[in-house]
Symmetry: C2
Subunit: 261 residues, 2 copies
């Protein structure tokens, strides 16, 4: 009796017939950000056979808009639709597709990918970042039975292929877009404190900020409602809770929430 696992029909079909339905040269990869316990995290999947972590991604169907492929991957992974999703960069290094990773996945089933198989060519991947409500997401493992983890963006190890570079580029994009897209609102819980939004800004900007300056500047935008409630539980004086004033926030983003942080 063979020691290899039975080959799942879906995987076999993917290898042999995938090229009938899948676009031959484009994939999507998603950097899914969530803010949890004052830490900015991204969702990573483990490619078990390769003992390495990767971004959630997928192929693009022949009749599918590339943006829709990203929405599909996100809905599949997180159970969420109506997600804040932004395309940010296409990654097109000719050596980026390392067939070794596919090979490792298939070899557990005793399958060797043929030399000229469609899977062996370079896929140009379109990178998307998503900002999700951490508490609402229900993460699912994929068809390769991967496990997943939310990992602190400041503690990511070596990822598959060019995925570290994709994460860097996503963070760089967040930094520049912080001033004109609703990044704060999409990552923070509905009610948040000034120390929490400061921590989020510090992580994205990758530097410590002065508490007083930050609060003065941030409150100066006039985009928050101060609640008559505080966040209990910390060692310090309980800080006040805020919500975004949506109308003022949208208006302020048009001009830009600029400040030399």
């Amino acid at each position: 009796m063979s020691k290899t696992k039975p080959f799942p029909p879906t995987l076999k079909q993917l290898l042999l017939k995938g090229n009938e339905q899948i676009h031959p040269g484009v994939s999507v990869d998603c950097v899914i950000f969530g803010f949890h316990e004052n830490v900015l995290k991204i969702l990573l999947l483990e490619v078990k056979q390769a003992n390495i972590w990767s971004l959630p991604g997928g192929f693009v169907l022949k009749n599918e808009e590339v943006d829709d492929a990203a929405y599909r991957v996100l809905a599949l992974r997180t159970g969420l639709d109506n997600i804040f999703l932004q395309q940010f960069h296409a990654f097109g290094n000719p050596n980026r597709s390392d067939v070794t990773f596919h090979q490792l996945k298939f070899q557990e089933y005793g399958i060797k990918i043929p030399k000229d198989n469609w899977l062996t060519q370079r896929f140009v991947t379109v990178g998307y970042y998503a900002l999700i409500d951490f508490s609402a997401a229900i993460i699912k493992a994929d068809s390769y039975d991967s496990t997943y983890a939310w990992v602190d963006v400041q503690k990511i190890g070596t990822l598959m292929m060019d995925h570290n570079f994709i994460v860097e580029k996503a963070l760089e994009t967040l930094r520049t877009q912080l001033a004109y897209l609703p990044i704060g609102k999409n990552l923070l819980p509905k009610k948040f404190t000034m120390p929490e939004i400061q921590k989020l800004y510090e992580t994205i900007l990758n530097k410590k900020l002065d508490r007083r300056n930050f609060q003065r500047k941030m409150l100066g935008f006039g985009i928050f409602n101060k609640l008559n409630e505080t966040r209990k539980g910390g060692a310090h004086k309980a800080p006040f809770l805020y919500t975004f004033n949506d109308k003022k926030y949208q208006k302020a983003l048009k001009d830009g929430l600029y400040g030399s942080w």
Copy 2:
């Protein structure tokens, strides 16, 4: 004797053997901006057989970085290298590749593109914008013997496929990046007047700006050297010429040249 033109070997090779060297699903399209006589223009090519205008673009070779394909197209068209070039968006609508345009090009040579030819599938195109020194560019027509023109961005007619959408998206990108990328410097001549830079900002932002406010804000950035020279020839009082102070400009872009224009 056939009325059709002799089929150029390069075109025939492209059709029959192109898939051996060309990436099967990704192309590049370039929105090349130049600022000339106070008008922001883009470079367009005429697809003569289709009587329609398009952006300069091209395929990606199998062993070529996608960004390098954009540089190659630009160098080929403009004779310039060392160009300010930014990837800005990937366009992946499943219906974007209209084989009719290819068909029109080939039919002049009496060739019908076979139904399953590699050229007939959807190409996801990666959009790049380039800012060039208008006076230095030497434009070349392409292998389809297209003519070219510099067209005022505010007076572009209907372009091929989704190219109008690509131009819109490029302009939208310029608007948001005006604050932190050296867009002014790359489009303006070495010496320029305040009315000239104001005109450039007005075109990119697509609105009239108040002269006094604009100058106060712009000069407030402290990024210019005022020259002891004026631009002669206008009906009004000759305006002073300025150059960028590169060091101060680079520093200011890091914080952002923000203003609620």
